[in-house]
């Protein structure tokens, strides 16, 4: 991470020396980048505008222009629908993603620490199997997981979605890289000489040194779980256990029969996206560090 911040300004032209050749000129580059930015923002802007419209205006007024302001009514309708099931979905998502990512990060930190710091027989074999797990896509696992949970009669429960979400081989991979980079061997050796136990060393020294990196790991896993769709779709029948993504999906698939759900789906989508986009933007630094580790070291 320090490497990244250090190279940040390294690309500025050296003062006093004229740059040779025009190369790319600034204006077309800017126009291109602005056009792409427009493409990225258009759907978000449309969602913002649409969330403020009544169901009638949604169909009858131009999509990119504001009509009568109905955001307040839409929001109260959203939270009133089916006895406030939407709030329940939000809380579920928070529980699946928040608790799942927190536990997952701790497990990954311990495993990554063990793989980075200790030299033991079978270390590379264990790491290879974990890396193999990275290549097994979550969607390929969803169906087998369903069959397995059906075997013990545990589908359609909170745990059927929560437990598989905790496991993230990619987090272990990241944690190992971060642990190797951020914990000097001498520090551990010194602590051992001072008489500290292995667990104490991990808890009081290693965890602290890894903590900025662990924020990254947590964020990655949080978003992956929050966005998970196939696993809850396969596992859950009870609407009260749905995460918000699955809830919105069921509303949208009913819009042909219940047109009012169109507005609710849109407002619901907006409300569900705001917290995660904000988190993203506020913690951008950590994201870039995590992506850099994934890209550069592989």
């Amino acid at each position: 991470m320090t490497l990244l911040t250090r190279t940040e300004g390294a690309h500025a032209p050296v003062p006093g020396r004229p740059r040779r050749g025009p190369g790319l000129s600034a204006v077309p580059a800017f126009v291109f980048m602005a056009l792409v930015a427009g493409y990225m923002l258009l759907p978000v802007y449309w969602l913002l505008v649409s969330a403020t419209k009544s169901q009638g205006d949604l169909v009858s007024t131009p999509g990119l222009l504001l009509a009568d302001w109905h955001l307040g009514e839409n929001l109260s309708a959203l939270f009133a629908q089916q006895d406030g099931v939407y709030a329940r979905w939000l809380l579920n998502s928070l529980a699946y993603a928040g608790a799942g990512a927190a536990i997952g990060t701790l497990l990954a930190a311990m495993a990554g620490y063990a793989l980075a710091v200790y030299r033991f027989k079978g270390r590379e074999a264990v790491f290879s199997v974990i890396l193999g797990g990275v290549l097994v896509p979550a969607t390929a696992l969803a169906l087998p997981l369903f069959l397995l949970f059906a075997e013990v009669d545990a589908t359609n429960t909170f745990w059927s979605v929560f437990l598989p979400s905790v496991v993230s081989p990619f987090s272990v991979y990241l944690a190992r890289i971060f642990a190797a980079a951020s914990i000097p061997e001498e520090v551990i050796e010194a602590a051992r000489i001072d008489g500290a136990g292995e667990w104490t060393i991990f808890r009081t020294i290693a965890l602290r040194m890894m903590s900025p990196a662990l924020v990254t790991v947590f964020l990655f896993q949080f978003v992956v779980i929050w966005n998970n769709f196939l696993l809850p779709l396969i596992m859950l029948q009870d609407e009260r256990l749905y995460p918000v993504t699955l809830g919105l999906f069921t509303w949208q698939s009913q819009t042909s029969r219940v047109p009012e759900l169109q507005t609710l789906t849109l407002v619901g989508a907006l409300v569900s996206v705001v917290p995660i986009v904000l988190t993203f933007l506020l913690l951008q630094r950590y994201w870039r560090a995590g992506l850099a580790a994934g890209a550069v070291k592989s």
Binding site: Y118, P137, L147, W199, L248, L281, A295
Partner: protein, 301 residues
């Protein structure tokens, strides 16, 4: 955990410690990743048979690779595979080229407002796939969409959800969602390219284009390969977007992609065939990523 250190216990404690640290991860990893894979494979080799009419017992019998033969001979198998392959051939290069262009521009001295653009490009990745697909589904809807309205006023009457266009419409959603993510991976790698490398080339008279294509791109190869593998895996696993689009477009069938087909098989209680298809899909994905890695590694050497 005592803090007294005796020569006899220290090495022993230290040989056990890594396993104690690994176990809390490995146990759920085995249970929820390795066992399901193994179980799916086992299930794919067996078939449930009913004996003696409606009230008879069901029993599981070994069927070898029968299930696989059944799945492979279904018309949807080849259709859906060809569909995702076509999808990947067009969508992956478009998305990665766009991501690379943006990353190089952000990394070059030319660009203005870098911080703002970097932020904006990354916003779609923060939006869940389901929500992104929902949003675009509304934007493709002939009744609601300002985009379709604009095209109509230019006398272009296109049905973005029709059989010919819907695959491209889905491709657009995927491109929109993941371009920024791939761009950030490439951009992060570009940041680690030593500045004196480009500076030396500049002194030698190389233009910005040459520096970008001849120096920066080769250096960030590992990052490019990584985005390629991730995109390939994503393409063969395509599920969320077509599943959402099924609600609004009759062109998206229940067996539109291999993953969708596996899901449909499972929902109609054909578990063994669903398992066989899942295994085939996982093996194919694995093999493709592996081949891709090998191929790109050889070209380098």
């Amino acid at each position: 955990m005592t803090t007294t250190r005796t020569p006899a216990t220290t090495p022993r404690r230290r040989t056990l410690a890594p396993f104690a640290f690994l176990a809390p991860f490995l146990i759920p990893f085995v249970l929820f990743t390795l066992v399901p894979v193994g179980y799916a494979f086992w299930q794919s080799l067996h078939r449930t048979e009913r004996t003696g009419g409606t009230f008879g017992r069901t029993e599981t019998v070994f069927a070898g690779f029968e299930q696989y033969a059944d799945v492979v001979s279904e018309p949807f198998f080849v259709d859906s595979l060809v569909r995702v392959a076509l999808f990947g051939l067009v969508q992956i290069p478009v998305m990665l080229a766009l991501a690379l262009a943006l990353a190089l521009l952000l990394d070059s001295a030319v660009a203005r407002l870098k911080r703002f653009f970097r932020l904006v490009y990354f916003v779609p990745y923060g939006i869940p796939g389901v929500v992104a697909a929902l949003m675009w589904a509304f934007l493709y809807d002939p009744q609601l969409s300002p985009v379709v309205g604009l095209l109509r006023s230019a006398h272009l009457d296109v049905d973005l959800l029709g059989p010919g266009a819907v695959l491209f419409s889905i491709g657009n959603v995927v491109t929109w969602t993941y371009t920024g993510y791939n761009m950030l991976i490439m951009y992060a790698a570009l940041q680690a390219v030593p500045a004196d490398l480009s500076e030396a080339a500049r002194v030698d008279g190389a233009g910005a284009w040459t520096i970008a294509l001849r120096i920066k791109v080769p250096v960030i190869r590992p990052a490019l390969v990584l985005t390629g593998v991730f995109s390939l895996i994503g393409t063969f696993q395509l599920f969320t977007e077509p599943q959402v689009f099924r609600a609004i477009s009759t062109s998206v069938t229940s067996t539109y992609t291999p993953n969708l087909a596996a899901y449909s098989l499972a929902s109609s209680d054909r578990y063994s065939e669903a398992a066989a298809l899942s295994v085939l899909l996982a093996v194919a994905t694995f093999a493709l990523s592996f081949l891709f890695l090998r191929f790109t590694a050889r070209r380098q050497g």
